[in-house]
Amino acid sequence: MGVVLDGLVLGLQLALLSVGIVFVYGLGGVLNLAHGQVAVLGGLATALMLQARQHPVLSGVVGVLAAGLAALLLDRSLLQAAYRRRGEERLLLALILTLGASFALDGLFTLRFPNVALSLRLTNPSVEVLGVTVRTASLAVGALSLATFGLLLAFLKGTRLGKAVRCIIQNEAGALLCGVDVEQARTVTLFASGALAGVAALGQGFFSYLGPDMGPEFTILSLIVAVVGGVRSLAGTFLASLLLGVVNAALSYWVGTYLTWIALLAVAVATLLVRPEGLLAYWP
């Protein structure tokens, strides 16, 4: 029971991380291989704020904002060269550019902040809920993730700009012809993609710790989730995250961490073979 709950919470974390990949792909047709580093940047910013004895909530907010700005900056600088090209050329150039950015950021983080890590310890390590002992961190991260998703859904379904974002992902030309300011929607969405990754980084800090070298791991995890869920599907990404979160937690618990990566990749490969468009190809 505890393992399933941990898995679901981990799944929510993965969802926060992967939604950004889906947004960037949906809006620009590129895969951002530096997405994990954006999350780490947010986590490190929070850790540095905490070291400077700032209020924990303020530190968290600054971290999330920093990740959002980093994602936006990456898009406005490096990826502009890719956006000038179309189709496969754009995808490949963006892969190389963001891979380069990920190496550069990794190097920067590990050289400049080798000993900075984000670890958010709660006063009570566990509580009992309905007779089951549950880690407080799981509850906190679950609540944080659900609240974040609530906000995201309210934005996408309830606001004009949110609806515009959904329709740009389906058909950018159609959105322009409806009078949607695509540039404005892109700016907001890219910021959101980074900020969500920043929230995921905070969650990691609650769970165990977040170190400066964890960017590649985050990127790969979110790519796997996006592939399994469907790179243009938010609902699919959410479902895939929960599924892979539970698989990950169960395997780590019963088999050992070394096999979980192989298992996750196997799920991704199986999805590509059976349902190449992802679990839910498009989001409603």
């Binding site: 329709c167 322009l176 409806c178």
Partner: protein
């Protein structure tokens, strides 16, 4: 209402539209005719800001549209129904229409009712996803979505593409109703007969240049159309 002067536009180094002059008068339907590759679509895309003109000017209601981006042109009162229709296939008919009113959310209900009166079929299918509609219904939805933005000028690019003759006739009856309601229409077509019946004036484009302009009646009897489609001038 719309005045295009010496417009040059294209993709990369290739000019597809070469020095086009064109005028659309308020309340009138005007046709742009010509074979595939004559530059009709590029001309329309340049007018609405999807393609940046290399030279020349486009004025709408006396104001220059130079440098305006597509969404700004739409907000100014020009709607463009592309040949590809550009619908949101995963959204319902109603959601597509809602997005059509994105730039003008006020008076949504009245306009929705007006659009449903014009295309009753869409009212029946309002909860259906746009991608599951038939070709004719999708075309009607594309026009209806454009009308939701309350345009004063409606640009239609090849609205009859892919439709059976019976549906083309029905579509043009609806366009005639729209024209009578006072919507100004600029129409690109390969189906010459239907277009000339609707439009008072017509332009014939060939290789990116206007080779004829005048009243539809004159064009019917002239050799220009024949020449544009079959070669020679």
């Amino acid at each position: 209402m719309l005045e295009v002067r010496d417009l040059w536009a294209g993709y990369g180094d290739m000019a597809v539209v070469r020095g086009v002059n064109l005028q659309v008068r308020k309340g009138e339907a005007t046709a742009v005719l010509g074979p595939n590759g004559a530059g009709k679509t590029t001309l329309f895309r340049a007018v609405v800001g999807l393609v940046r003109p290399v030279r020349g000017s486009v004025r709408f209601e006396g104001q220059s549209l130079e440098g305006r981006r597509a969404h700004e042109v739409v907000r100014q009162g020009i709607a463009y129904v592309a040949a590809e229709r550009e619908l949101f296939p995963q959204l319902t008919v109603l959601e597509n229409l809602e997005l059509g009113a994105y730039a003008r959310p006020d008076g949504f209900r009245e306009r929705l009712q007006a659009v449903f009166d014009l295309f009753p079929r869409l009212a029946e299918r309002r909860w259906q996803r746009a991608g599951t509609l038939s070709g004719g219904e999708q075309q009607m939805l594309a026009i209806a979505r454009a009308l939701m933005g309350q345009p004063r000028l409606l640009l239609l690019d090849e609205p009859s593409t892919g439709l059976a003759p019976r549906l083309v006739a029905e579509l043009y009856r609806r366009l005639d109703v729209l024209r009578q309601q006072g919507v100004t229409i600029l129409l690109a077509e390969q189906q010459v007969g239907a277009a000339l019946a609707l439009c008072a004036r017509a332009y014939v484009l060939k290789d990116g240049r206007v080779v004829f302009e005048g009243f539809s009646g004159e064009l019917r009897g002239s050799s220009h159309l024949h020449a544009a489609y079959l070669g020679g001038v």
